[in-house]
């Protein structure tokens, strides 16, 4: 049975998160309210998915304790989901550190959170032999389940959602991917969110390759040009 760890110092939010996650069948949920409890639980158990409050026990120095736990759990091959009420700029910085961590901002939308947890559980139970994406060009390395993306030898920090979108577009084998399908990849949210994600993906590829022009939008559908 998959185990899910929730690290949240605010009890009301912790209770809500716990209640939401428990809606998923066949999962065991543990909650930690502080660092001490988190250390004990991580020491004693192996978790498949963890929801970590980024601003756990806020410090005057601005140190993000939740970031340390997210990083440690990722090292233990645990799928981490960052829960935060912080602004976009800070989340981008965090995303650079926690490659592959999905981020859920407060106030939480139930469907968004559940979609992220389900996707994380799916990836954690993946078949390693199926992780290889076929027919990749030499300049693209795309292993979504390993949270790995390289373009022309340069590492690109994509979130799991962004990796899913890139993977879906690549799998379309040079054909247009309609907005509905990409929206389903998000498991929640509106089509507007796809545009936001696509913009982020393009910006990240352009950051390592200014001439990058593989992704385009045509008639509301997206295309990875092969």
């Amino acid at each position: 049975m998959p185990r899910i760890l929730i690290i949240e110092d605010e009890s009301a939010m912790r209770d809500r998160l716990s209640a939401l996650v428990k809606q998923i069948d066949d999962v065991q949920v543990d909650c930690a309210a502080n660092e001490k409890e988190a250390d004990v639980l991580i020491e004693q158990n192996r978790y498949d998915v963890a929801l970590v409050d980024l601003q756990l026990s806020p410090r005057a120095s601005g140190q993000l304790i939740g970031l340390r736990y997210a990083s440690h759990l990722a090292f233990l091959h645990c799928q981490t989901i960052i829960v935060t009420g912080d602004t976009r700029e800070l989340l981008s910085e965090v995303g650079m550190v926690l490659t592959g961590s999905d981020i859920v901002t407060k106030p939480i939308t139930d469907s968004v959170l559940l979609g992220n947890v389900e996707r994380a559980l799916l990836w954690q139970s993946r078949d390693p032999s199926a992780s290889a994406t076929p027919d990749l060009p030499p300049d693209l390395v795309l292993r979504p389940y390993d949270r790995c993306c390289h373009w022309r030898g340069e590492k690109i920090s994509l979130t799991p959602t962004e990796l899913s979108i890139v993977s879906a577009m690549w799998d379309a084998n040079g054909k247009l991917v309609d907005l509905k399908r990409l929206t389903e990849k998000l498991k929640s949210g509106a089509p507007h969110a796809v545009t936001t994600h696509m913009t982020n993906i393009r910006a990240k590829f352009k950051a390592v390759d200014p001439s990058f022009n593989k992704i385009s939008c045509h008639g509301g559908d997206y295309l990875w040009a092969r």
Partner: protein
């Protein structure tokens, strides 16, 4: 061997590459220098062609001219009226002015005016005394007649005939002006009559004085007949060798006539005498010998009714004709004329070298001198023409006329000089441009070095330079310092502003953290329907709007505007998204309308406009897309129209947070974001109330 060849090939390729790079770097200098060198070459070639073509033509003309001049000279010198030729005696007849001496003539010219044969028909006015023109010297004299001084001349000729069959005689013709002759009466003293005194002076012979008196002729009375006046003016000439007025000598004989001559009727006395050489008491081996020819002769004419006429033996008279006069008259080109022995060119009988050049001299201004100087450097062949002639006195002769050939015409000299000056100017210009280009290259190089900051102290290098490079270098250094100072100043300003923004963002982060999480928690704790929860939800909504605005700004800053086919994309958009629930239609070109936008963000813009239109569209009607190109300046216009109600304030719908939706998930961000994104495309968006509906108009830049 193969390795060596490969190495050479590589070196050659490197050399070609290096040369190409250098030529590209200095292309301006190379092009200008080539052009100027080509111009210099053209000018030089033009000058060369011009000079040689002109010289060739000039040589042809000179040759023809010299030929003509030589012929004229020969005609002038060999066709004397008496049949003689000046070339028979070049020594005597060369000079235009000479002292009175005995010259050698080829045939005798002396004769008595009155002879037995013409006694019956003799008339003084019909007498035509003959004498060779070349022998005659002319001396100007003044004739004082009743206080009126009239310029006249006296003509004198002393000659001896070579191999004279008549004997060894000197012949003389003296023609002088007179009024009335006072003749001498035989037996009377010479004192009261007109008298001609001749003085012969020679170192070998000694001075000899001969007086000539004019005496009435001894004409038989029966010969005078009915017209004795026809002998008026005729005199016999009596010679006297001493001063005592004794008996006339028989060694001198001759006659004289006095008459008026045309054209002005002036009266002249013409005396023709023959002097026997024995008068000089000298034995002559040949006739005439150098002693006779070397004698200087003085002349004095005493006239009773006029002033005497005296010609010193050293006084030079002007020859009526001479080789020099003939040369100056017939050879205006100034070419050198030589009379040579035809068989021995070293033997020169006469040359015109000593004479002043005549005639065709170009105006000696600067341009002509300069042109002549250049022509002198390019001196051509001497032009010669010659003519063989036969002189009865000295045998076969060759008359040769030669021109230096380097005097080019005035116009040609000027053109040549101007072309040369132009060529020199072009050459100097080429050098100047080369130096300027070199200076520019140095300035450019130094400016590049300055721009790259390779100098340790960039100002030191030009600190003391007062030339152009130094001045420009200092200017560049000063500008560089000023720009860097301004940049540093702006960097400081930007740094301060960034710091303020950073502080501001940090404050916003703090607010976000301190408000959003607690509000989310409070909402969890107030799940019921209470006033507190509504307040909390309002606060949370405000935070969300704030957060989404930041998202819009972030996405807008990452926009990638490229050229896309808007018509093609809209056609596909309508086709892909149209469904039973969402009726869409498109009118406009199916493709080929190029515009600049971010395809991702346009998708977002269209989603929000369509969402908005869908809410207000009359059910069962289409949301219509109309695309049209307004031209390069007006761009592309997209109108999205739906039938439905109007909006009172069409601009307000694009403001952040304005929404008519009651859904808690609708924050009034969509159209606000649409305007932000379209603006980032360089386009514009606005709304219009139209008949029976509402339209959003989006304008794009045409690509």
């Amino acid at each position: 061997m193969e390795v060596i060849i490969s190495g050479l090939a590589n070196q050659w390729r490197r050399f070609i590459t290096w040369t190409g790079i250098r030529l590209q770097r200095y292309n301006f200098t190379v092009y200008v220098t080539i052009a100027l060198v080509a111009l210099f070459g053209i000018l030089t070639w033009s000058a060369y062609e011009f000079f040689f073509s002109v010289r060739y033509k000039d040589e042809q003309l000179q040759y023809a001219g010299l030929r003509s001049q030589l012929v004229d000279f020969l005609l002038a010198t060999t066709r004397e009226p008496d049949g003689s030729s000046l070339l028979d005696n070049p020594d005597d007849f060369a000079q235009a002015r000479r002292q009175l001496k005995v010259v050698t003539v080829r045939k005798p010219f002396f004769g008595y005016f009155l002879t037995r044969e013409n006694l019956r028909s003799f008339r003084t006015d019909l007498v035509r005394p003959e004498s060779p023109r070349a022998c005659i010297l002319e001396y100007p004299v003044d004739l004082d007649v009743v206080n009126q001084r009239t310029p006249k001349s006296i003509q004198v000729c002393f000659a001896a005939v070579q191999n004279d069959p008549a004997g060894r005689y000197l012949y003389a013709i003296i023609k002088y002006p007179s009024t009335t002759v006072s003749p001498h009466r035989r037996g009377q003293p010479l004192k009261g009559s007109d008298l001609i005194k001749l003085r012969f002076q020679s170192a070998k012979i000694g001075p000899t004085t001969l007086r000539l008196a004019l005496e009435p002729p001894n004409v038989p009375s029966n010969a005078k007949g009915r017209n004795p006046a026809r002998f008026d003016g005729l005199y016999e000439v009596a010679g006297f060798l001493n001063d005592n007025g004794g008996q006339p000598t028989t060694l001198v004989s001759g006659q004289a006539i006095e008459r008026a001559e045309l054209p002005d009727g002036s009266r002249f006395v013409t005396v023709a005498i023959r002097i026997d050489s024995s008068m000089f008491n000298q034995r002559f081996d040949i006739w005439p010998d150098v002693t006779i020819k070397g004698m200087s002769i003085g002349l004095e004419i005493r006239r009773m009714d006029a002033a005497p006429i005296a010609i010193e033996d050293t006084q030079k008279g002007g020859a009526l004709v001479s080789l020099a006069q003939a040369y100056l008259t017939t050879v205006p080109s100034g070419a050198i004329l030589d009379l040579l022995n035809e068989h021995n060119s070293q033997q020169i009988y006469w040359t015109s070298k000593s004479l002043e050049p005549s005639g065709l001299q170009a105006s000696p201004d600067v341009m002509q001198r300069f042109g002549d100087w250049i022509a002198g450097r390019l001196k051509g062949e001497t032009i010669r023409v010659s003519q063989s002639i036969q002189s009865q006195a000295i045998g076969p002769l060759s008359a040769e006329l030669r021109s230096s050939g380097n005097v080019i015409p005035e116009l040609a000299a000027r053109v040549l000089a101007l072309l040369t000056i132009a060529g020199v100017i072009v050459l100097l210009l080429a050098v100047l441009i080369f130096l300027v280009a070199r200076t520019i290259g140095k300035i450019t190089s130094d400016a590049l070095e300055l721009a790259k900051r390779r100098h340790g102290d960039d100002g030191q290098k030009y600190k003391y330079g007062r030339n152009q490079v130094g001045t420009i270098g200092r200017v560049i250094v000063f500008l560089d310092r000023r720009i860097r100072a301004e940049v540093a100043k702006k960097l400081k300003t930007i740094g301060r502003e960034e710091e303020v923004i950073s502080q501001h963002q940090q404050s916003l982060r703090l607010i976000a953290h301190e408000f959003r999480s607690p509000i989310a928690t409070l909402l969890e704790l107030n799940s019921g329907d209470s006033d507190t929860r509504r307040l909390l939800e309002g606060m949370q909504r405000a935070m969300e709007i704030f957060n989404k605005m930041r998202d819009v700004e972030s996405i807008k800053s990452a926009a990638q505007n490229d050229t896309h086919d808007l018509a093609d994309s809209l056609s596909a958009y309508v086709k892909n998204l149209a469904s039973d629930d969402l009726r869409l239609s498109y009118s406009g070109p199916p493709s080929g309308v190029l515009a600049k936008y971010d395809d991702f963000l346009l998708d977002f813009v269209l989603q929000n406009i369509v969402d908005n239109a869908q809410r207000f569209a009359v059910p069962g009607t289409d949301i219509e897309f109309h695309l049209s190109s307004k031209g390069a300046h007006l761009g592309v216009e997209l109108v999205i129209y739906n039938q439905g109600s109007h909006t009172s304030d069409t601009d307000k719908i694009f403001l952040c947070g304005v929404t008519t939706s009651q859904s808690p998930e609708n924050f009034g961000i969509g159209l606000y974001a649409a305007r932000q994104y379209v603006t980032s495309f360089g386009g514009a968006i606005h709304a219009e109330n139209r008949p029976n509906g509402f339209a959003v108009v989006v304008n794009f830049l045409q690509a």
